[in-house]
Symmetry: D2
């Protein structure tokens, strides 16, 4: 499998794109440095932390997403995991924030995992937490094609549960082959009608299945349970919220943790508080970052409510500050790019996640703690808001510049002609009508 040759992956090209912008970045960075210095903040410490911050790119998100109504593919869609890794390499090379990729099985299965790992390594990529899939039937399933219509790990039929358990164990084995540290289990199990499912018996079956998977994985390997309020099930979902996720993770074992996808909650829910509670419980696995206005919209991180993303990072930085025991969350993007070029969305989203982190680092935590203890909500609130309203763009740009990534990732990407190039190489995929017809 030859790797693609593209200016988007070429350091000289990136440098030439950066050339015209560098002076501006440096001027802004110096000015911000002086302003932060007046506030007692060392800009270099922030920049170093930002440069060290990484979030995994999801292999599935480099293709065009769709809804149940339609999918409108762009050109040059990746045909397989190798194409996906090339796209992810562009994301990482230009935005400098996504050195690892999260795989999704069976979509990303290959024959040769050593070869896959070398291929990724040559592109400067490693692997992060992997994902299993029991919300669809797989061509190779013994029970194909309708085995998961009524559930998987919580199915009433032991044969279906066994198939789903086996698939998850298989995913954990693949994870071990590529050096991934954990497996995220999200499933769509639930019901569309009151009465269809017995909530308690389904939950017990789920816990039993996950416990079986847990028993089969190596000692240090982790299982991440991902809750979701609804969709694809529209009346009940087995792991519908963090409370059910917590109960299940407690039942399964110490290395079973709870993963938070930002789009999987009820309207109005205070997600940053859920983050704090999972940190308190020692059960925070990490995140699937995205943004949403209505449901599981899977929009680009920070596109809709950037302050919410900041408040989530405020909890994370606070947990580091308080040295919360065992605090080591995994960060992943999980988005559906229905109307944008996925490469552009992933770069931009990674930057937005970094932005929220940088802003959260600017919070004067000693002052904040003082305002909290003194019940001074005005100054406490303003302490957060002042960090949030600070323009950290120069910090983000400088961190990229120093890593030989692009000051303007989208601009450089467009200049590189990458999309046109892969459109010529990769055959067009069919669009589609989504799931409704």
């Amino acid at each position: 499998m030859d790797q693609i040759i593209s200016p988007a992956l070429d350091q000289d090209f990136i440098a030439s794109e950066n050339a015209a912008l560098t002076a501006g970045v440096e001027e802004d960075y110096d000015a911000l440095g002086r302003a932060l210095d007046r506030r007692g903040i060392d800009i270099e410490a922030i920049t170093r932390a930002v440069a060290a911050f990484a979030v995994a790119a999801p292999s599935w998100a480099v293709g065009s997403g769709g809804t149940r109504f339609a999918r409108f593919p762009m050109g040059g869609e990746p045909r397989n995991i190798f194409d996906k890794l090339e796209d992810c390499a562009v994301v990482n090379r230009l935005a400098g924030a996504t050195p690892t990729v999260s795989l999704h099985f069976p979509w990303d299965e290959v024959d040769d995992y050593k070869g896959l790992t070398e291929f990724a390594g040559a592109l400067g990529l490693g692997f992060d937490v992997v994902n299993s899939n029991t919300f669809q039937d797989h061509p190779g399933n013994a029970l194909h094609p309708l085995s998961y219509k009524y559930g998987s790990l919580s199915h009433t039929d032991p044969a279906v549960r066994a198939q789903a358990v086996a698939h998850n164990i298989h995913c954990a084995e693949l994870a071990a082959k590529i050096g991934a540290p954990a497996l995220t289990i999200w499933l769509g199990d639930g019901s569309n009608f009151p009465g269809q499912s017995n909530f308690t018996r389904a939950f017990e079956r789920y816990i039993d299945s996950v416990t079986t998977v847990y028993a089969a994985v190596p000692g240090g390997f982790k299982l991440f349970l991902e809750h979701k309020m609804y969709e694809p099930a529209f009346y009940s979902t087995v792991i519908q919220d963090w409370g059910s996720s917590l109960l299940a993770a407690q039942a399964v074992g110490d290395n079973c943790l709870c993963l938070v996808d930002l789009g999987h909650h009820a309207p109005n829910v205070n997600i940053e508080m859920i983050v704090a509670r999972l940190v308190h419980a020692g059960k925070l696995a990490g995140f699937h970052f995205n943004d949403s206005k209505y449901g599981d919209d899977d929009l680009d991180a920070g596109a809709i409510e950037p302050y919410r993303l900041f408040l989530v990072f405020n909890e994370l930085v606070d947990a580091e500050y308080r040295k919360a025991p065992g605090f080591a969350p995994s960060y992943m993007l999980d988005q559906s790019h229905n109307v944008t070029d996925p490469i552009e969305s992933l770069m931009t989203s990674a930057v937005e996640v970094q932005r929220a982190y940088a802003q959260a680092l600017l919070v004067d935590r000693a002052a904040l703690e003082g305002f909290q203890d003194a019940n001074d909500p005005m100054m406490a609130s303003q302490t957060l808001k002042r960090a949030f309203t600070t323009d950290v763009q120069p910090i983000l740009a400088m961190a990229r510049l120093r890593k030989d990534a692009a000051i303007d990732p989208v601009g450089a990407y467009r200049a590189s002609g990458y999309r046109s190039a892969v459109t010529r190489i990769r055959p067009a995929k069919a669009g589609g009508s989504g799931g409704i017809v």
Copy 2:
């Protein structure tokens, strides 16, 4: 095109299924009649009204639905509009409440509409309001395959708008051919990102396009505008609520009305009040009935919040009672049957809509008006609740029995073996991964 021979469509079979149940229905009906008589209600008047009540079946809903994650088809899925009509005939024959079908173009296009109408007529079916589709690209589109990725009737490109306008005019022409009285326009136009679309310019383009369609349809023909809060667009939708729908309908003309789909509103919204407001404005087109707990879940009518369905019908019966000018709404089901046999869901849903109508007819409106005028919320509330808690099952069953439909539609359907029969005849369709991959 030969029509299917099935016991499900056979009057003798239905009669034989009813035989064992008839005595029970009659006993319950008599008992209810006496109880209602004590409340001053003539059961026969209610039964006649129920028997006369009809709701259109949607042609698209006899196939298995799906989500963006997956579609799990059952056997015997209809291959074309003729198969769909046969399924709809079963629904109507057994449940006796859906004598018309709503078509969806281009999905249901045929060469010979006279033949289609005769085929339907032979099955005892007529046609109701038709639906256009500009949320997907069609194989024959001049601008295929990505013309509607960024909108249709409100698209920034005049050529795309012209194509969408032409499609809608074409649908109205097809409607005329089959005797359908109106065209429902729902489109997914909107945006996924703040800034992507200029709300006002998009709205102006939409109104301009619909006005063009309106000018091209015959005088008595109606256009129904269907609003929806979100999905497939996840930040903004051009016709996002009844307010925008009303503004557009006012701008287009007198025969342009506003259609309410019960699943298209924000959380907690009082939908029955929207119905009342549209009646007040003389702009209520009618309904797409379904039920939902979270978003546009498209679940079976009455499955989640039956009291809400009753309250909608309470408004409709109240409008009849007050003789609201021009009040003549169209009733259609619009559901996605992801985990049930669509024929069973459609029968059951039609019955649930009738149930809500029957319950609403039981409301003592003179008494209610008195309690309202006297500000007696307790008795007003109890007046509605007493109608709702009355078990109208005997009325619904008797209405079916008298129409030679099945007392127990699902039971008779299962006994008929219809699904097995069509599964043998119709080739299996592929499942699918929904829109996400």
Copy 3:
């Protein structure tokens, strides 16, 4: 303290009110009995269970409620706990479903608890779970008047926490004096601004405070923790959902359980599933019944979404059916009667709770389990719906008739002239502007 003499409490009066209605009830009851018999259900077993079912009345709910905008009191508002008990006695005598009262301290504090218990006993009333109050400052507080502005059990100031802990211990002591089995702790602690409160430190303080209370109460006495999404705090609440409630209850001890108020959840949340999860965890304390459409509306139980109330009872009856270990929830009403006579609302609400229970008892659980195991959502759903659509009014009326309560509680109450009588005796209370001015 003399007890009031009113026809509302007089058995002969009630019997005379029932006289004209008895024949109708008996006819309907017999007809329903035959219909249920055809479905294999013994009506007498249901009627006995309904007659044995009880829900506690809240002492605070017999006065007119209000909002932050205004309170519009009716006449004859109770002046103290003795007046409240008389009102509660009317509720229980006429509706026959609320033999116990939940007190709220300090509102219901008296000098002589033995006397209070005897007074209640003479009215046929006992006491259920008591409630503490640290969302308001109390006249006698050492730290009055602004001690709870920024929290109580989770306050940053140890002196405030100690005051709140002492109050809760005091409430538990009062509970012991009147034979109440548990104390419900609901508090408004939270924040209105991001940053105002450190989520984790506040939670730790809360757990520490409750643990201190727990250590001070007698062995068998229970603490019930009540979660609420928001209000009076509008950004974060310390015990904002069942997950936080569970974490806290786990930390405190075995006799610390989680109470569910039906109006305290995020929009669209599946509350019946939360009930199931708390049963599974062995942590379900019980309920505060009410209904809501938007927020914590505190409307009459079953007034808005009666099917939701039924589905909650479906879980409770299912837990009994499955013999869930330690399952013994407490049932209480918790409502705010802003526009109705509270006595009427409490009677009606108690009946609605019984109605949901009766409907849930009608569910054929063996059949339901079969449909669930067979993945037959249509029949499973219809099994629940058929129980819900059955008119159990005759059962409820017969249960009341047999207990010498009123067939038509509201009618009998109005006929009794109780409200006019107490309006003459009890001085008018001022209305008010609510909290906003």
Copy 4:
């Protein structure tokens, strides 16, 4: 009525407070100016626009707010409209953004409106849109004390409607006396139970009442209708959304417009789109600014979702840019300050509103229009985000500095000792239990 002497109102004091901060502001302002210049933006034009931007302060918001559960007053609460104006003067002098005050009748009624106007003028204040109140009964009401329990302008009783109409006409007359341009009508009319109110008849009565008010006011005077989803009514509200508000305003007349309170919508609703629709319809009256996470939380503007506030201003600046006919909205704050010093919250909120306006002015509208027309959601979105992430703090501070207001309004306010001073002068007010007891 002597005016208060306080450093908070003293120009020299403010200047001295500014002294230490001026150099930093100037350095940041220069740096930002250079950065914006590189983006083609003239910072001086933005600063001038910000300096000219004003939002009215609400007279009712300078006292501590509360909930139905409790009100915890701070010291020095204003006793009357004169005290309130002094507090508002401090807000305006220090933050330089609220030169007018919105009065609320009957709360702010006085004997001598000429004197009131002069008093305000001496404090540098004028008057903006006034507000009526029919959600509470007033001491002087002929029909006191329970006239509005079941509604006001839409009440079933003509006498109550006449009283409410007369009150609104009276408010319009008072508005004329003080030079206020419009009257905002918000009322709590609605229902708590299905059936309590006939939606249509209540709406017709409402329109009739407002039409009567409209006929009685002078030609150029405007009526603003304010919609709200719920509270104090918890099942239905007569003007529940912008659709009902629009229908009513259309029925009443050209000078009857629709006012948007940011906290009065269903969860997840796209408020900026409603703004665009009302601009399109020529019916946008203006705003009540505040922020909310759950319901009508009345939190400080920009405290919860600052990006949403920005997106609202993006629509407003876009309407100016497109020269929308008749576009001239009124801007008012409307908040409840339950845990902060109201003066601090009002200053901060005015600044946040200015911040959103300044950010919206930074949007490159020609570029945005180009991206929209080209269906480039990525660049369109980034165009808005880049404006939003720009730190406009130096612009806001410079605008204040040039107006002799405080660079750091909260800091200067605290240094002035104003709260302590008025606490000595003004007697303590009682806290309270809110509306629930």
